[in-house]
Amino acid sequence: MGLLTFKIGGIHPLENKMSAQAAIEEFPLPTKAVFPLSQHLGVPAKALVKRGDTVKVGQIIAKGEAFISADIHSSVSGKVAKVEPVLDSSGFRRESVIIDVEGDEWDESIDRSPEIIKECKLESSEIVKRIHACGIVGMGGATFPTQVKYMVPQGKTVEYLIINGVECEPYLTSDHRLMLEKGEELIIGITIMMKSLKVDKAIIGIENNKPDAIAHLSKIAANYKGISVVSLKVQYPQGGEKQLIDAVLKRQIPSGKLPIEVGCVVNNVGTAFAIYEAVQKNKPLIERIVTVTGKTVSKPSNYKVRIGTPIISLIEKAGGNMESTGKVINGGPMMGKSLITVDAAVTKGTSGILLIENEKSKRIPILNCIRCGKCTSVCPMGLEPHLLSIISVNGMNERTEKERVMDCIECGSCVYTCPSGRPLLDNIRLGKRNVGIMIRNRSKK
């Protein structure tokens, strides 16, 4: 049987899943926690605490008031030291709440018992409210506020809930370990999501380089109605929601539309687990699984980390050698962001910390484009990166828009494969930005 995968393009980078066998470890409490108010896609949250306030674990410290925004909760207990701009993992100074940790006092409403609660008594709308109140965002890395996905617009019906357990990024294993160790909770989370969306079919897509996770989840899913596990061929970027829907259901989302257009809602396995904890245990999103890995890390590990912990402490615990490290990446090697400073904090979207050795931290020298067409053949969106790159740099915005630059999902496959080492994605991002400004100006008129 041919394994399922998406149709257009794709690459297969070296997997390098060095931490796949490392069980999730509880990471010790930090002494100081930093919470940037913009940990999610959309409008930054507004701080509710000020200097000198005492907070408990799970207490809300910032409110996301806009439609696309998310609340932020404290993951530690202690005193608010400062509310000021701090250089965070985005590379810019952003308003952040800094808390000095004192003890570990939890909010009383949070159920900290280890037992698994299977039944969910809440109504559909109540579940969405709970997801909103717990500040849950997409845990795959894009950090899109989850409650927005669950407010299905009028006239649209959801047929399938698709759970993304693909983890197509090389090196990262946080989702893999989560599926192995928290399988039961995760599946219950999926049933809650199904109840909220009022769908009876859920599909978990997992790449077949994780046979243990596929077997484990299939066994558990057999006890629940409507949940199936699909094994997918290893190919990057299968974790992109458009590619995943194409791989699982053979439906392609039209240009510029959302998954709801083809009757799907896509969520990460991490999100499913977070929803389980939020709904059944009333625990806001204050912890996440982070993979710390790389060639210069002596002990690649998966940690369960309180959000707000400085990244440097994770690197130290995992035995990272900063002397021979030239680049630290927040996320995976293909789509992650390189950090300016390792003092930045773990945020809701930090799925991994990847250390890259000195020799590999620089790009290969830029040569002339030899028009080999490899970028075109690997582009999962069927675009022509070489062309988009040139017309973006030359500011031909109308042409760039016509060549569908806005479809680019910035997966980086083109740069990965380019033999001339050209900065295709850098240029395309510039083009996307310019076209975005152009479209916004047009709609204003």
């Binding site: 980078p13 992650g336 080999c372």
Partner: protein, 333 residues
């Protein structure tokens, strides 16, 4: 701890480089090159060495003193041009003509457009065509492959199989007679193909092509559509009148066909970049080749056909876009 490096994603690279691609092509050309040494003797060796060396020297001089760039000799593209040029000329060609050919190839067809990646036409083919129309006599006196004494230096010259057929048909000789004058298909396929250096053995060229396909230096699109269109288009005429038109298989194994299919038409710089465009390109080259071979003035048409299609590549790139994601909504199964 030094400063951290920051750049946009992605942060890893697949390891493919221009150098690897180009030297891969050179490796793929080796078997056919060695075969040409075997069949045509020292003359072939001399032609190849002169062509490669002069291509390298011209590339170095032009990029250093005229374009004022760092010469990129190590990327191997000049070596490819040199070898391909040698593949396209007879083994008894005087050195000075080869040097002129290399100058035209590198200087006019490649560097005047701005160097690697910028040229419109395949440099080696421009050089070959330039020589063909400037020095027609020297360029068309083909040494015959001497079966008894393969290392012979002063081989006798004679027409290529394609030339025999062309002349014969013009003089009204029947096809069956002509077929007796040329070597058998097996011989042609294995390496009894009189003509230019690189045309000698279809089998070894095929081998090199398969190697490039295996290494993913080229994709199947251009070779298959080229071959297919040659077979179909010439097959139609052969079925109509086998006495007037040659067997499609004969077309495939003679002349520069295999060389063109795997090494000339698939040149990355001068071929389209989308799979659909590549298929159109290959089909176009095949059809033009057969038109020239059947009705043109020259017995061989591959190089002209490729150059004509090279000129159309920008349009092909514009017309045949890749299949976009989500163009058609497919709901259900």
């Amino acid at each position: 701890m030094g400063l951290l490096t920051v750049s946009g994603s992605p942060h890893i690279h697949g390891g493919l480089s221009v150098k690897k691609l180009m030297w891969g092509v050179v490796i793929a050309m080796l078997p056919a090159m060695l075969a040409s040494f075997y069949f045509f003797g020292l003359g072939a060796l001399k032609v190849t060495v002169v062509a490669v060396l002069s291509a390298l020297i011209f590339e170095y001089l032009i990029s250093k003193f005229i374009l004022k760039q760092q010469p990129q000799l190590q990327d191997g593209s000049a070596v490819i041009t040199g070898v391909l040029l040698a593949f396209n000329v007879p083994s008894n060609l005087p050195c000075w003509i080869i040097i002129i050919g290399a100058l035209v190839s590198i200087g006019i067809a490649k560097m005047s457009f701005g160097g690697i990646g910028k040229n419109i036409f395949n440099p080696a083919l421009v050089g070959r065509v330039f020589l063909l129309i400037s020095f027609p006599v020297q360029m068309t006196s083909w040494p015959v492959v001497d079966k008894a004494f393969p290392m012979g230096l002063d081989a006798i010259t004679g027409p290529t199989p394609l030339g025999i057929v062309k002349e014969g048909l013009k003089n009204g000789e029947p096809m069956s007679d002509l077929m007796n004058q040329v070597p058998s298909y097996t011989q042609l396929f294995l390496g009894q193909n009189g003509g230019s250096l690189g045309e000698v053995s279809a089998l070894l060229l095929l081998l090199g092509g398969l190697y490039m396909l295996y290494r993913k230096i080229i994709t199947w699109h251009i070779p298959i559509s080229f071959m297919g269109s040659v077979l179909i288009f010439s097959g139609i005429f052969w079925l109509i009148d086998p006495q007037m038109y040659v067997n499609p298989l004969f077309h495939l194994v003679t002349g520069g066909m295999m060389l063109g299919i795997f090494f000339m038409a698939t040149d990355m710089v001068t071929s389209p970049m989308t799979p659909r465009g590549q298929i159109v390109f290959g089909a176009g080259v095949g059809i033009i080749t057969i038109i020239i071979r059947n009705w043109g003035a020259y017995p061989e048409g591959v190089s002209f056909a490729i150059l004509i299609m090279n000129a159309l590549v920008p349009h092909i790139n514009n017309f045949f876009k890749p299949i976009r994601f989500g163009k058609e909504i497919k709901n259900g199964k």
